[in-house]
Amino acid sequence: MTTATPAAPTNKLGLTRQDYVGSKSTLCPGCGHDAITAQIITAAFEMNIEGHRVAKLSGIGCSSKSPAYFLNQAWGFNSVHGRMPSVATGAALANRSLMNIGVSGDGDSMSIGLGQLCHMIRRNVPMVYILEDNGVYGLTKGQFSATADIGSALKHGAINELPPIDPCSLAIELGCGFVARSFSGDPKQLNTLLKAAMAYKGTAFIDVISPCVTFNNHDASTKSYKNAKDHDFPLHELGFVQFSELEQVEIPAGETKAVDFPDGSKVTFRSLHDDYDPTDRYNAMKTLHQGLEKGEFVTGLLYINPGKPTIHDHAHLVDTPLVHLDQKALKPGKDVLDKLMAELM
């Protein structure tokens, strides 16, 4: 940054985009994950998020390093491999006023952590869950992951013969109320999806194809930049309007659809192909499966269901974040113990 440039734009908190950055990335130059990090920074800036209210959580792997690279004002937690969902669930229960942003990878989420991911979705733990999906284990130097497509080759020639797990189909199957796929090379779509995910109350799951430039970006890879670009199949053009901005923004009329969030925010859709209805779960499944058969990366907000009960509803918790309760609320009095003792005599 040079000093003579005009003042950087600020958001409603008076902060610049620069206030949302993190430490310098140590990932390989050109890594898709860094492009995703850039969009997380932009989305948080544009959503006027207070950094201290964010918990950044991850497991282990290249993707899981990236929470260090955004929102320095937020608390970060780089946990153990595949187990970030349970840590996030604990944080969400302890303090429901936090915004959880989880970053995981295809090894972390689809192999070692598959079980935890499934159960986090079942419980509808409020968080933005970003799966940085490159089809390989990068940090251990290029073994196949469970999202590698059949026929996809490693740099050194090994061919994957096992069927991939499709993260988005799985999330929809498990009842996730916000399921999206994007591509690290499509910043506009990713930015909109991230903003909508940040406004969503519940688990917002985004599978982002994020090429590994070092181990999986060659011609025989289906998760390369070229292949992702060639086969990206966006369902719609997306818009996101935060509740507070509604007065200033005109929702385009005509073929554009909108889905309202309980807080008044809106996601808008303009279909690019058939009239895709993102609130139709069965059609979302069908579209995903058809895309897989054709070798297309169907991208966009595949399924949205605002207003699903979250883990906080299921646990019938007090409205106050548990960590803000004082001793009076937490420790029953002597009369309670005396009564319990009398019952045992």
């Binding site: 187990r83 349970s86 229960l93 646990a315």
Partner: protein, 602 residues
């Protein structure tokens, strides 16, 4: 019908000093009958304990319930039973074969056991006939049949029928029809016995005044109560015997006592998908500032060990209750053991050393559970509360618990104000010289407290590092925290007889050790008893180890795990420690200790 035969007598009457063992089939409702029998004796003022030896099965397999009555207050399991009540055809013959000479045997008449041995006194009872007369509904016969033996035993042992009726009423909690039916069955057994069986004067119950004001409780309920009063906020668990009832009790207590005025809960209790997730939940919520816990048993600790290492290394509070059972692997899931001492002390790969609390009584289950949350937050680390099946699931007499007065210790936490005042705060800086840094909680405003938590190498500022000197400084400081903990954890309890020889034990071994210590002293061998109540070893343990010439270390495992820790931490005294071991899955009894110590003394 009067097949019972000569009056059992000969060795003098044992008043309020005997053991009863009831053999039934699990799932037959015998638990209620056994509890009534135990509580009736308790209501007569006689100290009791009840131990259920049950299979890992829901219905149809053998189960044994042992009731010990002891005027002296000895509540350990007794190896020899004075009265057997044999209701299970499958085990009856073997039970008879194993019986201690002179024992009384009440049995279901069709089993025809009386010819098996000459040195036992048999009391055949026509249970089916009695239950048919007492209970009009055939489908309830199986359940009510067990209540008949309560009446038979009451008549033979002089147990007060009013005490039995009161025990039934309290056991069945106001269900009028069930109370009437069960009381009817007890009376039927009682009346029939008086009319048909010969009296005996081998064992008797006589009114006493030693249970006034006492409670009967199991350690898991006591632990749950301690957690509730400690203000536990987030609980993650996965069902596993013998720990499940910790959380199930907590769910019940919290439903009554941890709701706000709108009926919303101040504690989140979540049944997780496995123990790994339970541990993750504990750390996630502990990190975010909540008092968090899980309860599990050995297999769960094995699964949680990765997270526990993270909690130790990244300094995150959390309470891990381990209700030990017989391992390794699935082991004997419904039998007791002190087999997780070393895994708890050193859980995780790499170098760790954890603070472990070792309750040995019901009051300690309660108070140590409460205290474990204070320690977890004070030391910013996972704390183990190590109990076992015997403490956790069996019935123990106790004084009522004292209310834990005072403030909850939330440890060293910097808020917005402190961060503003502090110069150069670092998450992992040892400012006070006690090894314990100051932490901040996510959500703290002011822009100063954010940091990155990681299980990889980190420096005082919580930044990633692979430098050797940073790593050494970190793990040495973690070790220092354990040194600091020595003045915080519960001190051991001593029961001195002025000897140069000692016996050291912990946890559920306590009642058997006390009984053995008394018996050995009576026979001329005095031992000073030190009961450990926590790890790390405190100054009192140092003094004991240094002062004694010989120390018998009593524990319920094969390898002498506590003895191994003692040898590690007191290498100069390693030759003093002699292991007294018990590991067949049954609760420890005094005789096992006495005979082993006598053997080692030779």
């Amino acid at each position: 019908m009067s097949t019972a035969l000569a009056t059992a007598s000969g060795q003098g009457t044992k008043v309020n000093d005997f053991s009863i063992q009831v053999a039934t089939v699990n799932g037959s409702g015998s638990q209620t009958a056994n509890n009534v029998l135990m509580r009736a004796i308790f209501r007569m003022g006689v100290p009791v304990s009840g131990k259920n030896l049950f299979p890992s099965n829901i219905a149809g397999l053998p189960t044994w319930f042992t009731i010990r009555a002891s005027a002296k207050g000895y509540v350990a399991r007794k190896a020899e039973n004075d009265l057997l009540i044999l209701m299970n055809p499958e085990t009856a013959k073997e039970d008879v074969a194993k019986a201690h000479p002179g024992a009384l045997v009440i049995y279901d008449e069709p089993l025809k056991l009386d010819a098996l041995r000459q040195d036992l006194t048999f009391y055949p009872v026509p249970f089916q006939q009695l239950v048919t007369a007492a209970c009009p509904e055939p489908k309830l016969h199986k359940l009510v049949k067990n209540m008949i033996y309560v009446g038979v035993a009451a008549a033979l042992l002089d147990i007060d029928m009013e005490a039995v009726k009161a025990a039934i009423a309290s056991q069945l909690g106001g269900k009028a029809k069930a109370i009437e039916l069960n009381q009817g069955a007890v009376v039927a057994g009682y009346d029939w016995t008086l009319a048909n069986l010969a009296k005996q004067d081998r064992i008797k119950v006589a009114p006493l005044d030693k249970t006034q004001g006492k409670i009967l409780i199991d350690g898991n309920a006591a632990t749950a109560m301690g957690a509730m009063f400690a203000g536990v906020q987030v609980v993650g668990w996965y069902p596993i015997t013998p720990s499940s009832s910790v959380v199930e009790s907590l769910i019940d207590f919290a439903a009554d006592h941890r709701k706000d005025k709108d009926g919303k809960s101040t504690v989140a209790i979540v049944q997780m998908e496995d123990e790994l997730a339970s541990a993750g939940l504990v750390l996630g919520s502990g990190w975010a500032g909540a008092r968090s816990m899980t309860a599990t048993s050995g297999p769960g600790i094995s699964l949680m060990s990765e997270f526990i290492g993270l909690g130790y290394f990244a300094e995150i509070p959390g309470v891990f209750v381990d209700v030990q059972r017989t391992g390794p692997s699935t082991g004997l899931p419904t039998r007791t053991m002190q087999g997780d001492i070393e895994i708890c002390a050193k859980c995780s790969h790499g170098d760790t050393l954890h603070i472990c609390l070792l309750p040995g009584t019901m009051e300690e289950c309660f108070h140590f559970a409460y205290e474990s949350f204070n320690l977890a937050e004070r030391f910013q680390t996972p704390i183990f509360l190590v109990t076992d099946l015997d403490l956790g699931m069996q019935n123990w007499m106790s004084d009522p618990f004292q209310y834990p007065e005072g403030q909850l210790d939330r440890g060293k936490v910097f808020g917005e104000k402190e961060l503003k005042e502090a110069k150069d705060w670092g998450r992992y800086k040892d400012v006070d010289g006690d090894g314990i840094p100051y932490r901040t909680l996510p959500g703290t405003p002011g822009g100063k407290g954010a940091y990155f938590t990681r299980g990889s190498g980190h420096n005082e500022k919580a930044l990633y590092t692979e430098k050797g000197e940073d790593y050494v400084a970190l793990v040495d400081r973690l070790r220092k925290k354990v040194e600091t903990a020595k003045s915080y954890v519960p001190k051991p309890i001593s029961r001195d007889l002025g000897s140069t020889k000692g016996v050291l034990a912990f946890g559920s071994s306590d009642p058997a050790v006390i009984e053995a210590q008394d018996a050995l002293a009576e026979a001329g061998l005095k031992l000073d008893y030190l009961r450990l109540r926590a790890l790390p070893f405190t100054a009192e343990v140092d003094a004991f180890v240094k002062a004694k010439e010989v120390i018998y270390v009593v524990e319920q495992n094969r390898d002498g795990q506590m003895a191994a820790l003692l040898k590690e931490f007191y290498p100069a005294h390693a030759a003093k420690f002699r292991s007294v071991l018990h590991y067949d899955g049954l609760a420890l009894d005094a005789q096992s200790i006495i005979s082993q110590i006598n053997g080692l003394e030779k």
